[in-house]
């Protein structure tokens, strides 16, 4: 059995200090936390949380940043964009395993994103190159997450892999199981086909809830990750449909059984 790091989005944990959140997550059996910046306003607070985590020895496996934040690097060299570069640099220096560039599935904007110039694949490619050039990543992997047709133009794992190839830089793929449910004809086959590039799995069930609350075939996902000797990390995501105290441990059990 290949053991993977399972983290949980700090956003899903009950309100409180980062230390209290980690105590809870650790008690439930999580290996690390994932921190997210969904918009410009959150970048500074994510940097603060990352520094706090480093100071307290709280393991953080993954930083997630919204794709539009990254794309904005192409046009704007303002303070917010420079803070995004700072965040990625600090994550790199802190030994974070993955920086995941993902559309914010909760706060997406289909009308703005779908087919719009601001998120064309060319512009996203330019932005990723710019981010890598400015941050000089070492062991930290930059992962691009595919998302469903309503919120992204990068819909399948194959789309992400093609973009990774186009960038010509060490870009990996993040697979989000909620989006895969809608976009991948055969989720297991799609995972296997990008095995060498898969750096991160965002575990969200078919209805957008935490793992185990929908119809994602977790035994199949787990068996596939095992077959491909996946050594990246997994982030538990989604919106709990019950109290976190019961929903998150149950989600963790769902993943532990199969990964």
């Amino acid at each position: 059995m290949v053991m993977t790091t399972i983290s949980i989005s700090a956003d899903l944990l009950p309100a409180g200090s980062l230390a209290k959140k980690w105590d809870l997550a650790h008690d439930w059996g999580c290996d690390a936390l994932t921190l997210s910046s969904r918009d410009v306003a959150e970048v500074a607070s994510t940097i603060s949380l990352l520094r706090e985590a480093v100071a307290l020895g709280i393991p953080v496996s993954t930083i997630m940043v919204d794709v539009d934040l990254v794309v904005s690097l192409v046009d704007v060299d303002g303070p917010a964009q420079r803070r995004l570069v700072d965040l990625v640099r600090e994550a790199n220096d802190a030994g974070i395993a993955e920086i995941v560039v993902a559309p914010n599935s909760v706060a997406g904007d289909a009308n703005r994103r779908s087919g719009s110039a601001s998120t064309s694949q060319d512009r996203l490619t330019d932005a990723l190159v710019l981010l890598v050039q400015r941050t000089t990543l070492r062991d930290c992997r930059l992962c691009l997450q595919a998302a469903n047709r309503y919120i992204s133009t990068v819909n399948t794992l194959a789309d992400s892999a093609a973009m990774a190839a186009a960038v010509g830089l060490p870009l990996a793929v993040s697979a989000n199981t909620f989006h895969m449910n809608m976009e991948e004809a055969d989720p297991a086959k799609s995972l296997l086909e990008c095995a060498g590039l898969l750096g991160h799995l965002h575990a969200v069930d078919s209805t957008g809830g935490v793992p185990g609350s929908g119809q994602v075939d977790w035994p199949l996902i787990g068996a596939t990750l095992h077959a491909m000797s996946f050594r990246g990390s997994i982030t538990i995501g989604g919106i709990p449909d019950s109290e976190p105290q019961s929903a998150i441990p149950a989600a963790l059990n769902t993943l532990r059984r199969f990964t």
Partner: protein, 264 residues
């Protein structure tokens, strides 16, 4: 149980409804789901439908094909959608059919997308939809048809996403002219347990539309078709299964595969 299959008229080869129906039969399908265009276009086809019906073409249902719907925020667009729906209901009967599919809205607003809060309260939106469906239900009963309310996924509609959402509305309307249509693609996004959702909705389901998990034809994704067919059998479903999806190839190749997959 063998389910009856229909395909949208745009999917079928042929220039006329008779030719399209002949093609449908040749690929294992049993009927045509008509495109319910607004602005009187559908109603203007009544003579075409009567002639096709006389020639044996089976056209049980139509789907509203407009850019505004009965749940619109704008009262005038809502009024027009209602009047157009009445025309569709009257006209589908001319085709020998009995059902017209409509969502609350499509592409009008999504709570998952900025600005997240619709310009009308949920309570008011529900009241509006109940009122509109009551009016359409009365018209449907008068002409011998049914309005089928379709739940759409969270990105396409702001209020009616699950079968349970729709059943709640339909029960409040309480009209024999209003029933539920279950779309497999939308269920794949919104239902945590699709067979359970079908069984819970039970007799309210009078129509089913088909799309795999990736909105291609059944069999092109990872949707659990046996689970859905078993659930439909368990509730005694005797309606149609109507294609509402894109196809991964030519209809002559795709539709026979769908027929083999879904006809038991």
């Amino acid at each position: 149980m063998t389910f009856k299959l229909s395909a949208q008229e745009s999917m079928l080869e042929g220039d006329t409804l008779v030719e399209k129906f002949d093609f449908a039969k040749s690929v294992g399908f049993d009927g045509i789901e008509l495109s319910g265009k607004g602005d009187g276009i559908f109603a203007a086809r009544a003579e075409e439908f009567r002639a096709a019906r006389a020639a044996g073409v089976v056209m049980p249902t139509a789907v509203v094909a407009m850019d505004h719907f009965i749940g619109d925020f704008d009262p005038e667009r809502r009024r027009d959608a209602r009047e157009q729906m009445k025309l569709l209901l009257s006209t589908i009967v001319e085709a020998g059919g009995y059902g017209v599919v409509t969502p609350n809205s499509y592409g009008l607003f999504s709570k998952r997308l900025p600005p997240f809060s619709p310009p009308r309260s949920d309570a008011d939106s529900r009241s509006v939809l109940v009122e509109e469906l009551a009016a359409l239900g009365a018209h449907a009963v008068a002409v011998g048809a049914r309005v089928y309310l379709e739940p759409l996924n969270r990105y396409e509609d702001f209020m009616v996403n699950t079968l349970a959402d729709a059943v709640s509305i339909i029960e409040e309307v309480g009209s024999p002219g209003v029933a539920l249509i279950a779309d497999t693609f939308h269920m794949s996004v919104e239902e945590s347990d699709i067979p359970a959702a079908i069984r819970d909705a039970g007799v309210h389901i009078e129509h089913v539309q088909l799309g795999d998990s990736n909105r291609l034809e059944p069999g092109a994704g990872h949707y659990d078709w046996p689970g859905t067919l078993d659930a439909l059998e368990s509730i005694g479903y005797s309606g149609w299964l109507a294609m509402e999806c894109r196809m991964s190839g030519p209809a002559g190749d795709v539709l026979p595969r769908v027929s083999r997959l879904l006809k038991r």
